[in-house]
């Protein structure tokens, strides 16, 4: 590599991260940021990172030289620039958050003021792609077609516009909410009718070319400052235009484009990025006519994106790393292909496999959200599956998304009332609706008609149905021809799917019949092989450790040493609500320790948004499933010394018993102990034996039993059905009506589907114990407290570490009880216990013998890496108790949650016992107030300027909020309050403006109007109870706050903490201190 092309004046670089994970901006930016930091480090450049997301890998020691856990906003970034004086700034690696912040810094002249050079794509090019009007103009200059709409005010003008655009067109009434008066027109007659109607709603009508049913195709393009361009990957959406690419199944490379199509769009993409002037990476998204070569450019993202992370993983080409180097001035010709190490980075990967990306939704976690998928993104994560047939990749992927599905076929039946309607109105179930339709005899043509999904994909899916039908004709394994068995495996059938085809409604356990298939097929020599991802389809030799498993092949690409010197670490799978980047941090840290201690590290994971699936992080990466079957396939081949299950969250943890039964050496805590903690009955009786208190609970199978148990413990109770019909899986019920409603709506109590009912203790504190033990003895621990009272899911709660308001006595008891549990379960490795504390009584609510969500947070605040310690223990190494405790810290860490309600149209943004946050941040401050303020600002809250709307729920909440209301008043805020709150504040001498709720529509001022008029800067709405009016009024206020982007708090304790913080500290007083300065 020659460095003569780089800008030598750049010695220190600031990188903006993307903050908390949210819908549309998730773990992919941890990956791209980490890569950029690595690229800078390789050049000996000093790096400064701003990212409040404490759970990420990039905010770990060794990645950046200076790390600031601060909001990525112009105000904070400016102050960091002022302090650090970087020479350059990287804007393209932290998603839209970083890009927007960077554009603001540029526009306000801050970058110029401090002489900070933007590396890579110039800001003007970013602005040209972000501003719709400029973008269209820019592409017009080179005759590239974009999606345009024409505004008209008469029928004649509409006709003229339609003639220019070409039918079919969409007509929309401008300024009309909810799509009133819009529709498709295939000809002038329809246009006339519809325009007439639309003009009745609105004086202006927009006419736009309809691209309904067009393909959506995307190219990832790289350009250097010497104008050299490559397209690293193209991808095709399975779903036609209209479904956000984050919501669509995506296939790489494109499958239905001819050579002419492919290169036509490729050439255009290069033309576009040359004209815009990208230096680095960007993507170009097209709508492409399935019946001609007509196209429209949908958009260009002048930054690293979810797609670029996917493309990097799909091809092995490290886009972010290369983009960062190009930003320094390198030419693509200066860089080497990091897979082959020998060939040039100026090339376009050739794939000899097929990649399928599937989105993961968690819509079931939200109240009121619509299940339809469309032009806005709702998915919270994604998986990538690799195969050498489309069928193989697709079925792998359907298992990976973790919705209890086994592939495309042999799943539990889903109930669909109207298949035609379900096909034409896509929901998060779309692919399974297609399966059902095919089972019921729908032809490919019919499904194509209703879905507009290209027939090629549907034919492939039909192949899977055909194979399952063939298999179903047999009743014993021995009767199945080997060729059919192999065909099924080549189409991605799991052992369980095959078992279900053959054994039908067998009474044997799924585990048993799957194992029968496994053993049988192995005896017939039907086993998978390992293939490499080498970027060049084997054209040149490559030393690559990036691997996947397939049945479409005869030989392995790698050798197996069988020296038992490797350690397999199981990763965390798809990001979902409840399992996210924190487990990626744990996985990566486990890999690093394994390597550091002289073992070969092996990773299994399939989430393209992670750092753990960066092939640089381990000695071998298997980008594949985390099912029992696949993990065993890999262990059979690798024959490692041992396997680590405890750093990837619940998915690997759940495999413990089955792997143990196969004689797998599980490192750390034994499978039996894991089972003793996971099994509610076993764990409970163990606690009883140890004399440790827990909330009373019972597993019940009838309504009568539930009633008599509640008589004993009293309302409220926490109800957890084992089988959920719809809606949330858990609920707190405060009275018989609520209980009835929930049981009727959500659960189906029966012998087969018992319900767990637990007593719910109100106004109790919730406390987390994160710890690491060796042979049952605790070596390191961190106790943290929730700001909210118990009842808010620990994943949604705001967590404080070290605790500031716990009795020493409580802490002592927690330590003691944790020690007892660690000993009883003989824990060796990470674990987490959740406690309830009221007065000094503590009760255990949950215990997980694995790393928890808060491990990166406590590790980074305490500056003791719990995973490093746990991994050493699991490797059997002696460890010393760290000579430091939380009592020594003279600062406070606050972990706050990020919600994505704005993306989830219709959902009620209220917190409950089921988790709904999509991400988190962790900030450090000299005291609670400062840390709270930083953390809240990091998750998108803003300090109110003038006014606050208070609706403070129950009498108890009103009392609790009184002091905060005083503070607001003293600090000159106008308080708007609902009836009850207003009355209570008046009684206590706090002036407030009475507002009326939507159900009191005839009186002024209306709360909703105030919100719409932006007269309110912060909404505190604490739901009182679940009565219908309260629900609908409260819901409307909460939803309006979210939709209008007004900060909303629904929890008294958190509201108190936030109000106390912003009334006592001015933003300018917040200290700008890097992590290592604490």
């Amino acid at each position: 590599m020659t460095d003569s092309n780089i800008d030598k004046s750049i010695k220190k670089v600031l990188l903006l991260g993307s903050g908390a994970l949210k819908i549309g901006e998730a773990g992919e930016f941890d990956y791209s940021g980490s890569q950029a930091l690595k690229a800078m480090k390789e050049e000996g450049i000093n790096t400064v990172l701003i990212n409040p997301n404490i759970a990420t890998v990039q905010t770990s020691e060794g990645f950046a030289d200076k790390i600031y856990f601060l909001p990525v906003t112009p105000e904070f970034v400016e102050r960091v620039i002022e302090k650090e004086r970087p020479d350059g700034i990287l804007l393209a690696f932290g998603g839209q958050t970083a890009l927007n912040c960077g554009v603001k810094l540029y526009e306000s002249g801050i970058l110029e003021k401090y002489g900070v050079k933007v590396l890579g794509t110039p800001v003007q090019a970013i602005i040209d792609t972000e501003d719709r009007e400029l973008f269209v103009k820019k592409l017009d200059e080179i005759g590239v077609k974009t999606i345009k709409s024409e505004a008209v005010e008469s029928i004649a003008a509409a006709k003229a516009a339609a003639a220019r655009l070409g039918y079919p067109v969409i007509v929309r009434a401008a300024y009309a909410l909810g799509g009133l008066g819009s529709g498709f027109c295939d000809n002038e007659e329809e246009l006339t009718a519809l325009t007439e109607k639309a003009l009745a709603f609105s004086p202006q009508v927009l006419v736009e070319k309809s691209l309904k049913g067009w393909k959506e195709v995307e190219y990832e393009v790289v350009r250097d400052r010497f104008d050299n361009c490559i397209t690293v990957c193209n991808m095709e959406n399975f779903d036609p235009l209209g479904i956000h690419t984050g919501e669509s199944i995506v296939v790489a490379p494109s499958q239905t484009l001819s050579n002419e199509d492919y290169h036509y769009l490729r050439k255009l993409a290069i033309k576009i990025i040359r004209h815009i002037g990208i230096v680095g990476e960007c993507n170009v998204q097209y709508a492409f006519d399935p019946e001609s070569m007509d196209y429209r450019v949908i958009e260009v993202n002048a930054r690293l994106s979810r797609s670029s992370a996917l493309a990097s993983k799909a091809t092995g080409y490290p886009l972010a790393f290369v983009a960062a180097k190009l930003g320094l001035g390198y030419g693509l010709f200066d860089l080497r292909n990091s897979v082959t190490k020998d060939t040039s980075a100026f090339f376009e990967p050739a794939l000899d496999y097929c990649v399928v990306k599937l989105p993961r939704w968690d819509l079931g976690k939200f109240h009121g959200v619509r299940r339809e998928i469309g032009s806005s993104m709702k998915s919270v994560g994604e998986v990538m599956a690799i195969g050498r047939t489309f069928e193989e990749a697709m079925q792998k992927g359907l298992r990976m998304i973790g919705r209890g599905m086994h592939g495309f076929v042999e799943n539990k039946d889903i109930k669909i009332d109207n298949i035609d309607a379900a096909l034409s109105t896509p929901t998060d179930n779309r692919i399974f609706v297609i399966a059902q339709a095919m089972k019921e005899g729908y032809s490919v043509d019919k499904i194509h008609q209703l879905t507009k999904i290209d027939r090629w994909f549907l034919y492939k899916l039909e192949n899977i149905i055909a194979t399952s039908r063939e298999l179903e004709q047999y009743d014993t394994l021995e009767a199945v021809p080997d060729s059919l068995l192999l065909q099924a495996k080549q189409q991605g059938f799991s052992d369980f799917q095959i078992a279900r085809c053959i054994f039908k409604e067998s009474q044997e356990s799924p585990e048993k019949i799957s194992l029968d298939v496994r053993n049988y097929r192995k005896s017939r020599g039907i086993v998978p092989v390992v293939k490499q991802i080498d970027t060049l389809a084997a054209e040149y030799p490559a030393q690559t450790n990036y691997l996947y498993i397939t049945y479409n092949g005869n030989t392995n690409d790698v050798n197996f040493l069988h020296d038992h010197r490797s350690i397999v670490v199981l990763g965390s799978g798809a990001y979902r609500i409840g399992s996210s980047v924190e487990f990626d941090w744990c996985s990566v840290n486990a890999l690093m320790t394994v390597k550091k201690e002289g073992w070969r590290s092996v990773m299994i994971n399939y989430n393209p948004e992670t750092v753990s699936t960066d092939y640089d992080m381990c000695d071998r990466l298997y980008f594949d499933e985390l099912t029992f079957e696949r993990v065993m396939d890999i262990l059979d081949l690798e024959q490692p010394h041992g396997t680590i299950l405890s750093v990837g969250g619940q998915i690997p943890n759940n495999l413990a018993m089955r792997l143990d039964a196969e004689g797998v050496n599980i490192l750390g805590t034994s499978a039996k102990s894991i089972d003793n903690a996971e099994d509610r009955h076993k764990f409970s009786s163990m606690l009883d034996k140890l004399g440790i208190d827990q909330p009373r609970w019972r597993e019940l199978t009838s309504k009568d039993d539930i009633d008599s148990f509640i008589e004993e413990v009293g309302f409220p109770v926490l109800v957890r059905p084992s089988y959920v019909l719809s809606g949330a899986a858990m609920n707190v019920c405060s009275n018989p009506e609520e209980l009835d409603r929930f049981l009727k709506l959500a659960a189906n109590v029966s012998k087969q589907h018992p319900v767990v009912v637990s007593e719910f203790i109100q106004n109790a504190k919730e406390i987390e114990m994160d710890a690491v033990a060796q042979n049952g003895e605790i070596k390191a621990y961190a106790i943290s407290e929730h700001i909210e009272f118990a009842g808010v899911h620990s994943g949604d709660a705001t967590i404080q570490f070290p605790p500031q308001k716990l009795y020493v006595e409580t802490m002592r008891r927690i330590k003691k009880v944790s020690g007892q549990i660690a000993k009883a379960l003989n824990i060796s490795g990470p674990f987490n216990i959740q406690f309830l504390a009221k007065n000094n009584d503590i009760k255990v609510i949950e215990c997980n013998l694995r790393a928890s969500r808060s491990f990166p947070f406590v590790s980074k605040v305490l500056k003791i890496n719990f995973i490093d310690l746990a991994t050493k223990i699991m490797l059997g190494l002696p460890v010393e108790k760290p000579n430091k405790s939380a009592f020594d810290l003279d600062y406070v860490g606050i972990k706050a949650s990020q919600f994505s309600f704005s993306r989830l149209q219709g959902s009620d943004p209220v917190l409950g016992v089921d988790m709904s946050s999509t991400g988190e941040v962790g900030c450090i401050g000299t005291d609670t107030g400062e840390a709270v303020l930083k953390a809240m600002l990091s998750v998108g809250h803003r300090i109110p300027k003038r006014s606050v709307l208070l609706t403070t729920g129950s009498a108890r909440d009103k009392v609790a909020m009184l002091a905060s209301a005083q503070l607001l008043h003293k600090n000159g805020y106008t308080i708007y309050a609902s009836k009850g709150t207003h009355a209570f504040l008046s009684e206590n001498g706090i002036p407030a403006v009475r507002v009326y709720m939507p159900s009191q529509g005839d009186q002024q001022p209306q709360a909703l109007e105030l919100l719409h008029n932006k007269q309110i800067d912060l909404v505190v709405n604490v739901p009182k109870n679940l009565t219908p009016t309260e629900l609908s009024d409260g819901y409307k206020i909460r939803r309006a706050a979210i939709d209008l982007n007004i900060p909303l708090l629904t929890n008294t304790r958190l509201a108190e903490a936030f109000i106390s913080a912003f009334t006592s500290i001015k933003p300018g007083e917040i200290e700008i201190k890097a992590w290592d300065e604490y």
Binding site: F333, D342, C354
Partner: protein, 356 residues
């Protein structure tokens, strides 16, 4: 689904791969080569450079978009690179029995059947490619169940250029300027690229003494096999080099021009067979992604002093084109006409036209 016959691929070193037939249910023998392109099977199969070869596609799924219609436009094939399939057979991991594309008028299997070309799928093409990569190309044969096993056939022992070249001079297009195109197995897109730029093309057989034809420039096409088999063309070129008429060559044309200039060629350890070959214009920072399909290369070190490399392969630093230091002669080892592959270097045709 139709009943599918078993088929086997046998290599000269005795390695066999078992798969299934999807094309013509007969047998075929030839030289087994691979290409890592992810699209473009209709173009590759009809590319005369594949004459006598069994084509292995490393992209595992084949036949997705069917085959475009057989249609002529301006006396050349509209969608193909010649009027029939030149490859002896085609090998893939997975075949798509159903295709989907608005331009397709039949499936790949139907087309192979029409042209009596076997196709085999269910083959570990990655393992096969690694084998071919390490051993160089190998002879092989495909035998579909029920067909008689043929002998191995080495196309390199034949003059393949003579086999695929046109037999009589032909004219294409119209224009003020005339270019003689020496057909060593020309891809139709080269003709389209020339006529599309307003040139009249006189296409002559490989061994035709084109120096007798009045013209403004000379173009030497791509072609199959070993450049050492085509000495007649080299001789004719030597004569042309004495003059000053612009000369351009592609692929085989690059090798023939080099030989005429006095340089020698050699067989590459790893041939270039893909759509993603990076080349750099010598002495500049300009790089291009190119489509390539060749096993021989020009030895830069043997270029006479009045010639210099024009392009260099960025992966293995081998020659990708030459030019004369003073006269209007240049050539490229890659395929600026693409089809299939990236079109980044189509500007070479413009550069050629500018010289005329």
């Amino acid at each position: 689904m139709q009943s599918i016959r078993n088929a086997v691929l046998i290599l000269e070193d005795g390695t066999t791969f078992h798969g299934k037939s999807f094309g013509y249910p007969g047998a075929a023998a030839g030289e087994v080569v691979f290409n890592t392109a992810m699209t473009g099977y209709p173009e590759s199969l009809t590319d005369p450079s594949y004459e006598g070869q069994i084509l292995v596609t490393t992209y595992p799924i084949l036949g997705n978009y069917g085959v475009p219609p057989r249609r002529q436009k301006d006396d050349v094939s509209q969608y193909y690179e010649s009027d029939h399939i030149h490859a002896k057979a085609i090998v893939a991991q997975d075949y798509s029995w159903q295709h989907s594309h608005w331009q397709a008028d039949r499936s790949l299997a139907d087309w192979l059947n029409e042209e009596k070309i076997p196709g085999i799928y269910g083959i570990d093409t990655r393992a096969l490619t690694k084998l071919l990569r390490e051993k160089g190309s190998m002879l092989g044969k495909i035998v579909v169940e029920g067909a008689e096993e043929p002998d191995f056939y080495d196309p390199n022992k034949e003059n393949l250029v003579a086999k695929v070249s046109c037999k009589e001079p032909e004219e294409h297009g119209a224009g003020d300027k005339t270019v003689v195109l020496v057909d060593c197995g020309v891809k139709h897109n080269i003709i389209r690229c020339l006529t599309g730029r307003g040139l009249k093309v006189i296409r002559v057989p490989w061994d035709y003494d084109f120096n007798t034809i009045p013209c403004d420039g000379i173009f030497i096409s791509n072609g199959p096999g070993n450049p050492d088999m085509v000495d007649v063309t080299v001789e004719n070129l030597r004569k042309a080099l004495k003059g000053n008429k612009p000369i351009c060559g592609i692929c085989m044309g690059n090798q023939l021009l080099s030989k005429a200039a006095g340089a020698s060629t050699y067989k590459l350890k790893y041939g270039h067979r893909s759509h993603n070959q990076p080349v750099r214009r010598a002495g500049t920072n300009s790089c291009y992604v190119t489509s390539q399909n060749h096993g021989f290369a020009v030895d830069d070190s043997t270029l006479p002093s009045d010639w210099e490399p024009l392009f260099i392969n960025m992966n293995d630093n081998t020659n990708e084109g030459i030019r004369h230091k003073t006269k209007p002669f240049f050539s490229a080892q890659f395929h600026p006409e693409a089809s299939s592959g990236p079109k980044d270097t189509e500007f070479l045709f413009d550069e050629f036209v500018a010289l005329l």
